[in-house]
Symmetry: D2
């Protein structure tokens, strides 16, 4: 990871500001001959797109992705893929207030302190719009994964909104696409609808916990000690705007467990693949995938753009107050679900390629030597 | 981060196995003219060293660090610094059992599945001994920081052992060095002593939560979007053995907050430095330091090396059981405290250099333009 | 350098194919507050643009660069700068022959062997059009350099066309802009005009040697051992299409010299800056700049697209012949001059930032300690 | 490449100074299960070792390499391999003169200007001793290549000493090991022996041209545009001390050729492998290997350590003179032959792994689609 790039071999650099002409992702190192087109990527972008229901910002962006390079006659060529999304909804809004005042909880002040200049329109580079580029890159990663690891599936869901967590006994992955919250618990989803309605009307916002799972991941992905699969996943998720915590498997709760409770026992499964009595590890041991489901969660803080007046300062150093008006999400965590999925897909593809590069296709089977 | 390296400009590559001739850290990109010698680094290593009290493994390693390059007449030269720690306590132990069986919760099985070969002696590369190299590198980073950012201080502590968290009202940083647990709460420390005694006798182990704080960090460190300071910190901590979760500021608890509670209000402080009404953000906004204290926590899972018999398989694919004997820590989290500090120091130095490279020394002050 | 990127801190990734919708450069790590706009970059691109005289390909591309991100109100913001050039002259040409046959001396066959797919239209990714993105990035680098190192100047020239080298006694840098060959020797330029006319009429092509010089480079840029300034310059130049050799200072001719001839003697100049009796080293010793003029040369092979029939094979493996028709340069080295300048500017800026990051602004002065 | 590392997946970081306790190479990303031991690596080091005959420096170093990590029971484990060479011949020489004066043609002055500190003993980091670490890493690369690309062979030779080039008609690779100069032309070798004897007696030194060839390289290695195989080879060679020029295939002479002479015609060979009428390209087209022999040359400047008095300055800025006494090579190019081979081996292995990572094992065959 460096500045605006992530990934080792499948390397994604995102660029662009919220209210500039366009934003996008430059993707280097994609395997060749992967079938992909704009329509396939658009499906993923449409899941993240704002303005789809009353729970997300009413900013209406087409978020139409264009492939400018690296794809020929419907297949990747192995050269860099440029994915561009034009910013069509650049309203000629009055930005004079946020040009002068720093919004609390936003990156306004830190960009200013770091660079001595900032594109203040809509948050500029720190806008959640940047995540559209991640989702486009994630769509490309999924296309490559479907060739290289056909059984691999990535699915995200929201498992907590504000203080209201799902009931794990109700977890049903078929429910995830059935409600506007990507919630796997139908009862919780109904409850959240009322809760978020009230929040929105009060001009406040709330955080969330997102869970992303990947099944069908081959054993053996990851590398000691700093190129660990969990290291790269933690970095990928923490790099998403507003994320303040990342957990693998038991996560922070692992601290409270005893060794006798935590270590997953191993038995022998079919075809040389081991099986485990449980998955406290979240599918990763020593930084390397076990072949179990990979399970991670991340916490998104509440949007700082709220209608309550807050104390702040101006760029001239004067104390003042600010109310952040405009089109904002009461729970930005909703739109973080497809973003988390995209980051998971990118990281897994990258580690598949890294493993193939260093080790080749060994398969990870256990059993009598040939 | 790639495979066994971390950092952008201050780049650390660790190498070595638990029972090989030596292990160490190759540190590239250190600023020149930093005063440092083996004695200074040894102080940090001695904090991490096992065998210091009954709560840590009784393996006795001198853990003596040698500087093989990059330091001349007591100062760094700007060329790579090689820090080597010889493995002196390589008991001619019988490793025949763990050569054949995979210990549940360990990296044994995943290394085997990935590489088809593993140095099984004492965990090899996945041993906690690797963290000695991080601590040595962290000592070097601290030496450089004391020149470049004189007021900067990094301090770690253990804030939860198993299910027993400290009382935040008792937090006293002066207590941290006064007990074997780096615990900032004297009452909790006394309680933990009894608790861990019992655990140790029962042959079990327990997890922990470590908190690392850095004060005196200049505003403006970090970079959008993937070179964020919190991204690199999350990666650094998640790369430590047995870590399963990382949090910045409010961390996972941010999910339960409302926007009106979470955003830290800004006022004007002395000398152009803003002040904040609170620090929910943990000192980082938009991936860039605010100048407030940086606060992070990470969870360490319980050691998987326990005396309870567990089901597992052999490398030939046969089901069996294993009891992990030997010298192990009932709460490996204790020794993770200096390791977390070292990683924090390395990441902060790296971002100081990155910032100086891209932007120069701007100072981050806010106020009327000159 | 990795796949399609170069640079450490000032990091350029180019993307795009000759006949796709667009190509460009994603530039990460540019210092903030650098004044730049599309007009400033266009000046450099216009120097490289084909179709300007009868000696370069008659393909007419507007080569208009657009800044899509990273610049706000005429200044860089420190975030990624996306520079896009749309491909406007995509004639609906008949590509059926080169879709099937590999042109000798071209990358057609190796791309096919590597990837199993290639965008054959106009050379695709391997087209000389890719260098337009380098020139755009180089323009940005020059803008930053004019702030950070005001006296630094980069100038390229052609010093040999085919077997005809300039007379060094005639070297006059004021001549460089006065002829279509960037030739510093007016007599040679006149001779080359006739020579190239004949070549063009005969349907053949010829190689060239380009020299790039940088004056006003501070002492101290570069780093042992693999981040040497000459290492990065050699890589930068060798990465240009059709380049087959790179030299620093005496270059290949250094082999024939004696130590007593080659080592530049040192004397003391004004303001703590050393001076040298000669510049055999080309301004670099031990991979680090001396403060003298940096002098490098690179050789460009003759264009392989010629009207002579050549033996080749089809992608089905059948032997055949090919005549490469179309719009091509008889001496592609002409357009390599601004490309070499651009690469020099990028590498020097990158090393300025690297030096500032690791060491700070030390100045490189020699004299009594303060 | 960054500071002291090179390579993408097979990543080598060298460390150490001439007169410190040790130097070495930290090698990350080596494939697992490669048979290797210290004896195998020592064979390569012994080829580079000084003091073997009267034509190389009489400094006597054992240059014994130790493997400190990453190899278990005679095979690589996939974790970092630490290769250490202790400096045994650290004579307690009087360094007071070169501590104060900068030797012309050496890195003394630039290290001082850059860092404000330097290990002046024997050149410190800039000593040719650093290349021992490259040769050790190259030995490891060769071991891996012998598994992954069994027919691949790398061989270097010296083709020019001072102004005296070999006669290409006498080129006989069997001669290379038969004389102290790695010269493929027996007649030239005899001539050089006399020539160098005279030079040595006169206290002077001379440059050389080294040629390195690799046969059996699969087609398809390399990547557009900056990860080109020739880009990485040029960087690798230019990073060797004293190298001032690098050429691929025709190299600088390509400038003088016509397109009709230069492009290698293609015919069909056995088993889907194309053949070429000639190899002007040196085995690389568009940055990707063709399957032909890779041919490169680099020029080594004459050693600057000579017995002739030269003008220079002191670190206090005073003008003076210096005679460099001590143990030095009249033609350091001799010892550059095994170094060039080592760099070639490292780069080829790296690109084999990169190709396998991105593309898999496709084989590069041409012919009717299956």
């Amino acid at each position: 990871m460096s500045l605006n790039s992530f990934g080792h071999l499948f390397r994604v650099t995102t660029w662009g500001e919220s209210h500039g002409p366009a934003l996008g992702a430059t993707v280097d190192g994609c395997p060749p001959n992967v079938p992909v087109d704009e329509e396939a990527l658009q499906l993923w972008l449409d899941r993240r797109k704002p303005g789809q229901n009353k729970y997300t910002t009413q900013r209406r962006e087409a978020d139409a992705v264009r492939i400018l390079s690296g794809v020929f006659e419907g297949r990747t060529t192995g050269t860099p893929v440029q994915l561009m999304i034009e910013n069509t909804d650049q309203r000629s809004k009055d930005y004079s207030e946020i040009a002068e005042k720093f919004r609390p909880g936003h990156a306004d002040i830190t960009y200013w302190q770091k660079y001595g200049i900032r594109d203040y329109r809509g948050g500029g580079r720190s806008s959640a719009r940047e995540t559209a580029a991640r989702v486009a890159a994630g769509g490309l990663a999924r296309a490559a994964l479907s060739q290289l690891a056909p059984g691999l599936a990535v699915q995200g869901s929201m498992v907590q909104m504000g203080p209201r967590a799902i009931d794990r006994d109700n977890f049903d992955s078929d429910q995830i696409g059935q409600n506007p919250f990507w919630c796997p618990d139908a009862t919780a989803a109904a409850d959240w609808a009322d809760y978020l309605d009230q929040l929105r009307k009060s001009g406040d916002s709330v955080g969330a916990v997102i869970e992303v799972r990947a099944s069908g991941v081959p054993a053996g992905l990851g590398a000691p000690i700093y190129g660990k699969l969990d290291t790269d996943l933690a970095a990928a998720m923490m790099s998403i705007n507003a994320v303040k915590g990342v957990e693998i498997g038991e996560g922070m709760a692992a601290a409270a467990l005893r060794g006798s409770e935590n270590a997953d026992e191993i038995t022998m499964g079919p075809d040389g693949h081991p099986e485990y009595s449980s998955n406290h590890a979240g599918g990763i041991l020593g930084g390397i995938s076990t072949g179990q489901e990979i399970v991670l969660r991340f916490a998104v803080k509440p949007t700082s753009s709220i209608l309550t007046s807050r104390r702040t300062i101006t760029k001239a150093g004067e104390e003042t107050e600010i109310v952040t008006k405009g089109r904002h999400d009461p729970c930005v965590g909703i739109r973080a679900v497809p973003v988390g999925e995209a980051m998971m897909a990118c990281v897994l593809l990258d580690h598949l390629l890294l493993h193939r590069g260093q080790v080749g296709d060994t398969g990870g089977r256990i059993g009598p030597a040939d």
